[in-house]
């Protein structure tokens, strides 16, 4: 069985009258364990073949997909969908044998860039394929370069409802004519990430990385279960590392006082952090309360297995030296969330020409990234602003910023750093 380890970090001491409990939970899969899934892996590849892909993009995409197919281990299953106005299943689910790969590659080479972009039809085809492999690790890769057709929006909304929990999807936008928000909506619901591929020749490297990550997954359909006491309310539940994903509204409630948040598939030696913020009824000084009991639940063939558990506590005290301390991890991730928000709002302000607000917010982001040692974000910020003083967050907006650099900052603003060892 999968060896999950859950550990909670918090300062359980809160002052008299306080009603909010914060805790960071680190969940780690033991690297040495053999996991209990069926071992089946189904990889879906969905490639935009709309008219806008014409030229370098479709060629690069085809090359990348061909290489990706060659890289698939023999024991995986895969399918390919060509996405245009309607999704066309050009390679139905097959084992990745050499013969099947060759047949698939022939079909991929025939893909032509023509027509519009109706993502809902692509997802509908993919859902059909994934529905046939319920026990498998189910990973989809979606590549597009443009905006979804307006008339497809309501259909896409409905499709996302149907796809949720059925498979996971990594979304990649190539070039800068696509909408971050749009892909993020898809990847968010389908427990994947959204990222930009600035040039077609970078598609292959990115696909390789996605595939490696997908193949490392060993157990799917893991839920984060949170029990809370009567009268409590979950203010939020967020994944905060490796990136920020707000799961609060994603909860299912299997029974009273219990919420299940989807976390998708997990791979060997994977580690993620979660931030819980729970509102409780204030106790009296001296009271100790179990404010939450967080566990991981793996469902295999309809049977739930609780694989790790950790407690979130609240102890009311009148000792200020205890209650005024903020746990290092809680503080760190609270800062990372603020960093992501400053970037998003800063870029928004920049987009509408509000330079003063943009300068202030992006400057604050530079300071927060510096303080938390988030070097990757600092690097991306430096492509959008000139930094005069990192510690104080004094910056000037760059005059010349490529659309790709701004989009890279936007898509990656939710990537967090982990706490630096004290």
């Amino acid at each position: 069985m999968t060896q999950f380890k859950a550990e909670v970090f918090q300062n359980a001491y809160i002052p008299q009258g306080a009603d909010e409990v914060n805790a960071i939970m680190t969940v780690t899969v033991d690297g040495g364990a053999t996991l209990g899934s069926s071992g089946e892996k189904l990889i879906g590849i969905v490639c935009d073949t709309s008219g806008s892909m014409e030229g370098g993009k479709i060629h690069a995409a085809k090359d990348a997909i061909v290489r990706l197919v060659w890289m698939l281990p023999q024991d995986t299953t895969f399918f390919v969908i060509a996405g245009g106005e309607i999704g066309e299943l050009i390679v139905p689910s097959v084992r990745a044998t050499n013969d099947n790969k060759q047949r698939a590659i022939a079909a991929i080479k025939k893909m032509k860039a023509i027509g519009g972009t109706c993502i809902s039809t692509w997802l509908a085809r993919a859902l059909d394929q994934f529905a046939g492999a319920p026990g498998a690790i189910r990973q989809c890769i979606l590549l597009t370069d443009g905006e979804n057709e307006k008339q497809d929006e309501p259909l896409l909304e409905g499709l996302l409802d149907a796809c949720e929990g059925q498979f996971q999807c990594e979304c990649r936008g190539v070039g800068s004519d696509w909408k971050v928000e749009e892909l993020r909506k898809i990847s968010g619901r389908l427990l994947g990430s959204t990222d930009i591929i600035t040039r077609p020749d970078l598609i292959e490297a990115d696909f390789k990385e996605i595939l490696a990550r997908a193949l490392s997954k060993e157990v799917s359909d893991v839920a984060l279960r949170l029990w809370t006491p009567l009268g409590a309310r979950v203010r939020f539940c967020k994944q905060v590392s490796p990136d920020i994903v707000d799961l609060t509204s994603r909860a299912r409630q299997p029974k009273a006082q219990v919420f299940d948040y989807p976390t998708g598939a997990w791979g060997k030696a994977e580690s993620r952090d979660y931030h819980f913020c729970i509102e409780v009824k204030p106790g009296e000084v001296g009271d100790e309360m179990l404010a939450g009991r967080a566990s991981l639940v793996v469902t295999t063939a309809g049977v739930e297995n609780k694989v790790a558990e950790a407690r979130i506590l609240a102890v009311w005290t009148d000792d200020e030296s205890k209650s005024t301390k903020i746990d290092r991890r809680v503080a760190h991730y609270t800062g990372q969330a603020e960093l992501a928000q400053s970037i998003q709002e800063g870029l928004e302000a920049r987009g509408r020409g509000d330079d003063d607000v943009a300068t202030a917010l992006l400057g604050k982001a530079v300071r927060l990234a510096h303080e938390s040692g988030n070097e990757a974000t600092t690097k991306l910020l430096r492509k959008v602003v000139d930094v005069d003083n990192e510690e104080q967050g004094t910056v000037r907006l760059k005059r010349q910023v490529t659309k790709e650099d701004a989009m890279a900052l936007e898509t990656r603003s939710t990537k967090t750093s982990r706490i630096q060892r004290a």
Binding site: P229, L230, A291
Partner: protein
């Protein structure tokens, strides 16, 4: 007024059988009027909630003591388990047990002067609120009274014991408030000069354990029958008005042990002789006794006070 009330001590924490004061017919605990003669019966006392915060039942408390309804943890108090290792031959220990949410037993003990050993064990009646306060108040009051009497040297031991029980009764009665009458058992003993004097109300016991043979029970339970936990005498505002405190004087025949205990122990160990004789240190022996009761289920609070007589 409530002379016919029968207290149900262990195992049943909520059911209190009520005997009609007019016609002496026993009625189930939930009847408010006697079915025979229509006399109003006193409402049975309410069992204390098992979650101190929200009143959830014991099965909603997780093994670590957190309530699975409201999340609050039962506050572990010093009252739950404490010991008095007076010497290697005189020691006492009390424990909450495994099933009750608090310890409603209490004991007091000490050596007084050169040759007297004083010990009191009280078991609060679970079906009353503040049963823990009742047993503590009773044991403390009886102990203070006994020490005072012995140090003044004026009273005989029997009158000293009777005075102590009466002080204990006053202390428990003082805890009563509208509609609630906390109650407790008591067994008090003084060992001095070759004699042991014991006084008691209820079913907490005193045993003499000689070098061989079964233990000798010095007390007789004030209960309806030997198997019943419904006690007929107790300390408290609603104690039977005509109850008489039982006393016994026992001449120490030679080496042996005097054990005072609550029913949390004797329920599992009606004859403690073998277990008491396995040790030579009173501190070790009382631990062994409490561990045994917990190992057997720990359904009730457990108290043991032991004096080894050379």
């Amino acid at each position: 007024m409530t002379a016919g009330h029968v207290r149900n001590l262990a195992h049943s924490r909520t059911v209190v059988a009520t005997v009609c004061p007019q016609c002496s017919i026993e009625a189930p605990g939930d009847l408010r009027f006697c079915e025979e003669c229509g006399t109003r019966l006193e409402a049975p006392p309410v069992a204390p909630p098992d979650c101190q915060k929200c009143g959830a039942t014991p099965d909603e408390i997780d093994p670590d003591g957190y309530c699975m309804a409201c999340g609050h943890r039962r506050v572990a108090s010093k009252r739950d388990r404490f010991e008095r290792p007076v010497s290697a031959s005189f020691a006492g220990l009390t424990d909450r047990g495994l099933r009750h949410h608090r310890n409603e037993d209490f004991f007091t003990m000490d050596k007084v002067g050169d040759d007297a050993h004083v010990m009191v064990v009280c078991d609060g009646v679970s079906s009353t609120l503040d049963a823990d306060k009742a047993s503590e108040a009773a044991a403390e009051a009886a102990f203070r009274s006994l020490v005072q009497s012995l140090e003044s040297g004026q009273d005989t031991r029997r009158t000293a014991l009777m005075a102590a029980i009466s002080k204990a009764c006053a202390a428990v009665t003082a805890l009563a408030s509208s509609g609630e009458s906390p109650a407790s058992t008591i067994v008090a003993a003084v060992a001095r000069g070759g004699f042991i004097d014991v006084a008691w109300l209820g079913d907490s016991r005193a045993y003499w354990i000689g070098p061989e043979g079964p233990a000798q029970q010095l007390t007789e339970d004030d209960s309806e029958s030997p198997d019943s936990h419904a006690i007929t005498k107790w300390l408290g505002a609603d104690a039977p008005e005509d109850q008489v405190t039982s006393t016994v004087r026992f001449e120490i025949p030679g080496p042996g042990s005097l054990l005072l205990c609550s029913d949390g122990l004797w329920n599992y160990l009606p004859d403690p002789a073998d277990m008491v004789r396995t040790g030579t240190d009173a501190v070790d022996i009382v631990h062994t006794l409490i561990d045994f009761a917990n190992g057997s289920g720990g359904h009730d609070n457990i108290t043991a006070v032991l004096l080894l007589v050379a």
